[in-house]
Symmetry: C2
Subunit: 292 residues, 2 copies
């Protein structure tokens, strides 16, 4: 069976792994995110003797995913030191000389969930991660969504909750979705880490109001066949029923589809791949790159 390489590039660590085209991850190693040269150097050393067919990279952004662009494959402008302008795809091609699939971490996860996870057999889905940051990727009509750039769904504008006194923590927009509903925003608002707030805390109803607004807008704009919610904050399983209830309240019966009514428990779901959605998504990018 052919072996593919996968890299899940995050702000604190890069997870590198090997897998097969049925979605199985055979092994992973974790490399701390420092400078691109050091981090990618270690990653390339890991893959060098593995005989991989192709490699997929799902990474933090913003990145240039436009294959027609002169700067395709690079990190564009990140506040992260050293990484702005770094040519990830160029480096990997030179070192490994195999096809490279390249996309955002969340687009990769959406593709992984479509192939092997909670959206198997569908032609569309949306994967939202709520953690240190908020981001989402989507598949529509069987293809990952790109255009001018890749989506930046974590920064959409939402309505403030009437009881929310927190100004919002996004350096660009203050109280956009990420500014109000990321893990750090929850901690800044309530003075306690999200993971330490009890299930009955008022934080969760407010949180579900923000996430539900985002899901309503994603659904009205993209109409994905499944909404998959991952990331550290979504480990709070009690959020799911709250979110489903608020999505229905905000839609108020507008879109007549069973998925938004009696079947909403199987429409708004956890990742089928659990915390492996990211690395599996990178594997999915590798498999697609080999096919292309």
């Amino acid at each position: 069976m052919r072996i593919y390489g996968a890299i899940e590039g995050g702000g604190t660590k890069f997870v590198c792994g090997l897998g097969t085209e049925d979605g199985t991850i055979r092994e992973t190693v974790t490399i701390p995110t420092t400078t691109p040269e050091e981090t990618m150097g270690k990653a390339m050393a890991y893959f060098a003797d593995k005989g991989i067919e192709a490699i997929g990279i799902g990474t933090f952004g913003p990145i240039d995913v436009n294959v027609a662009s002169a700067t395709y494959g690079t990190v564009t402008s990140t506040p992260k030191p050293y990484w702005s302008g770094y040519d990830i795809v160029g480096h990997v091609k030179r070192e490994l000389n195999v096809p490279v699939g390249f996309d955002t971490d969340v687009n990769a996860a959406a593709l992984g969930e479509l192939l092997w996870g909670a959206a198997q057999g569908l032609k569309s889905c949306l994967y939202l991660t709520v953690g240190t940051g908020i981001g989402a990727g989507a598949v529509a009509e069987g293809k990952l969504v790109h255009g001018l750039t890749h989506p930046e769904m974590g920064h959409i504008l939402v309505r403030r909750h009437s009881e929310d006194q927190y100004a919002g923590g996004c350096p660009f927009h203050g109280d956009c979705l990420e500014g109000l509903a990321s893990g750090p925003a929850i901690e800044a608002r309530w003075g306690t880490k999200a993971s330490e707030l009890g299930e009955e805390h008022a934080a969760w109803r407010m949180q579900s109001y923000y996430i539900a607004q985002a899901l309503v807008n994603y659904t009205l704009i993209l109409s994905p066949e499944r909404l998959i919610l991952g990331g550290g904050v979504m480990h709070q399983s009690h959020l799911f029923p709250l979110i489903r209830e608020q999505v229905q309240g905000l839609l108020n019966g507008y879109v007549l589809h069973p998925a938004l009514h009696e079947d909403i428990h199987s429409y708004i779901v956890k990742p089928g791949l659990g915390d492996k959605a990211g690395i599996s998504g990178a594997l999915a990018l590798a498999v697609k790159a080999a096919e292309a």
Copy 2:
């Protein structure tokens, strides 16, 4: 040259036309929208002897656009009398026996603009109409966006303008985008028809705030390569610079792409097909249906 049929189905009239695959509309006739039997009967009589290769229908919704569905091709649930459940595609196939393309009016317009209008040569665009209602269609990665159903982008949630006293006119959501920014909403808020408000009226800055919010969310979620704004309210050309300015203000430099900065005048634009975007879009659906 082959001749294709096109139907732009609206709430007050159905425009039927003939065209060719270069996008030329050769002639049109207008039929008032009454009962489906009467309206579609007249439309079918018009096309009966025209020797068309295929027909495209872009219509008001909600409609079932899922080809795998038992009710594909029907109007689903509309407050419009007589039309709920009406099988448009079935009727046309029985009468004309040619391939039928079927989508929302706004998805059709987006495709028409991509093939022959303001988004020629691109792989993605979004077409927003602001008139009696608000709706949008989109092409992503070269394909019209569908999933669970078709998008319903006119009903996204927006933040209220701090000076807006109007409750909003959407029967489902009150103050969603359509509830706050459609032509009837403008008239209800200010007590004057939108077309009669002077260019300096405060209405327009408020209006541009709502439209800009929608465009920001569409851009962050879909990342279309061009935003095309049509419909009666957008005949107010002075809205365009106001909207562009507010889009930039709301994004606050977040997405680094020339289209959102120095080139925004060619990113947020009028329809290249003018008021023919709808019927041209239906023609585009016909051409695609013949190819399929």
